[in-house]
């Protein structure tokens, strides 16, 4: 498929960092990293883009169709570009307690927990998911574009802790199967029980004869699973899942739907709602910040009342606000949008914005789009919440 520069002069959102290249052949030649599923994406007709140095499909059929599939049935994502860092040793727990904002004291084996990793000034290094295997073995899953940066940071914080780090990202393929029908599609393929509760995982499960880590986690706002297997097994696992779900309407889904789904569920995306300059407190992630921990990197900074706040907005005027748009209220600029998009399941266009804390509860806002002020109102987050 082709994209030309003139077609996309204003690339919104993280696509500003993603070059839209001419063809998938260009991507191959341009040293774009391939996940283990690269050939699979081509075979399935994926529209490939450069996503932070990785060649991945933005969609296969249509972003709206893929989004709908996940909300109503299930979708299958290649998320192998995510990073996997193992933390092991007698000092692993103490090390992570210092490194991360959340409290791991109550974390049990086969459980996952979400946390932020911060700089001393409270700015965000990354948001991560921690998997506890046992008291001396944890897996930290990091955002794709941040893997090298995160690993360097994590190494630098090791001093004085009896722990070792291993960046095992290249060894793994990771697939996300998300949607109300995910469990019914996945269970028949497994040689054991699936994780039953959200944020739990099974450290070793045979899925279609392939050894895998399976967690009940995801980034879509639906029920679902993330499956980690050896890189070489990725394509076979993907094929098995597609086949298993075919008769119930499982669709392979790309980055476009991944973004609209997480956006509808008001989930933060690093580089947008969380950055070097945006703290997890500003992003509203207090549930993952435990200030009663004795110490962790960034604690003092995060203990202060945040000066800015993440709010949700729904567009009243006709138009779509994307990221980086000025947000105004009472005639003054109070912040900027961090993400913005149509919300396919809800209808209408929404945005998340970072605004001055004292302007976080206004009756009415304007978002500046191409020189015009589009009226918007506060929308409670998450915009979309799945029915229990």
């Amino acid at each position: 498929m082709y994209y030309t520069d003139t077609m996309f002069p204003y690339l919104p959102s993280f696509w500003q960092g993603a070059q839209i290249n001419r063809t998938w052949e260009d991507l191959y030649m341009q040293d774009c990293k391939h996940t283990p599923l690269y050939e699979t994406h081509l075979r399935l007709g994926g529209k490939m883009v450069d996503f932070g140095g990785w060649a991945l499909p933005v969609q296969y059929s249509s972003i709206l169709e893929e989004h709908k599939a996940v909300r109503e049935r299930a979708g299958l994502f290649d998320v192998s570009h995510m990073g996997e860092v193992f933390v092991e040793g007698p000092g692993a727990f103490s090390y992570l307690q210092n490194l991360l904002t959340n409290d791991l004291t109550t974390l049990q084996p086969c459980r996952c927990r979400y946390a932020a990793m911060c700089y001393a000034d409270g700015g965000t290094v990354d948001d991560v998911l921690i998997y506890m295997f046992n008291e001396e073995k944890y897996l930290v899953v990091v955002n794709a574009g941040n893997t090298d940066k995160d690993f360097t940071w994590m190494l630098a914080q090791l001093e004085g802790y009896e722990a070792t780090l291993k960046n095992d990202s290249a060894a793994y393929a990771q697939l996300a199967l998300q949607g109300p029908l995910a469990e019914s599609m996945l269970a028949p393929l497994c040689g054991g029980e699936l994780p039953e509760k959200n944020y739990t995982f099974v450290p070793e499960l045979e899925v279609a004869g392939i050894r895998a880590i399976v967690s009940r986690t995801g980034y879509t706002g639906e029920d679902g699973f993330e499956v980690y297997c050896a890189a070489a097994d990725g394509p076979k696992l993907h094929e098995a899942l597609l086949q298993a779900g075919a008769s119930d309407g499982l669709l392979p889904c790309g980055l476009g739907a991944r973004d609209t789904l997480r956006f509808e569920a008001s989930m933060p995306l690093y580089g947008h709602e969380l950055t070097r300059e945006i703290t997890p407190r500003e992003a509203g992630l207090d549930f993952a910040i435990k200030l009663n921990k004795p110490a962790f990197i960034g604690k003092e900074a995060l203990a202060e009342l945040p000066r800015r706040k993440r709010i949700g907005l729904k567009l009243i005027d006709r138009g779509i606000a994307r990221e980086g748009a000025e947000v105004m209220t009472s005639g003054r600029v109070v912040g900027f949008t961090t993400s913005g998009s149509p919300a396919p399941t809800l209808g209408g266009n929404f945005a998340m914005a970072l605004v001055d804390a004292d302007a976080a509860n206004a009756e009415q806002y304007s978002i500046m789009v191409r020189g015009r002020a589009l009226e918007a109102e506060l929308a409670p987050m998450p915009f979309y919440k799945r029915a229990k």
Binding site: F8, P9, P12, L64, G256, D259, T260, R318, G319, R370
Partner: protein, 125 residues
Amino acid sequence: MTPNDRKYSKEHEWILVEGGLAKIGITDHAQDALGDIVFVELPAVGDSFAAGDSFGVVESVKAVSNIYTPVAGEVVAINEALEGEPELINTAPYENFLVQLKIESLDESALLCAEEYEAFVTQEA
């Protein structure tokens, strides 16, 4: 199949001239590259544009794209159906014009015929 009854620009617009009027839309290649179109911003009747000016915006879920007029002219009609159903451009790109201009001046030499446009698209790849 790229219709033979009209001309094309290298910015992937089509232009259908009928008398002194020109309908402008985007090509099948363009709508496919954009993906699901969710919003169209069109000018007002009476607005004037020089050749090469951007007269509107077509937005897909993930992309925002300026649309350029290959001809100079004044807007005499816009396709109002696109306000409520922007996806019409995806399903029928050649049946759904964006704007109709009263032509002030037209430089045919800058335009491609169907065959030339198809070759251009293949070549770009």
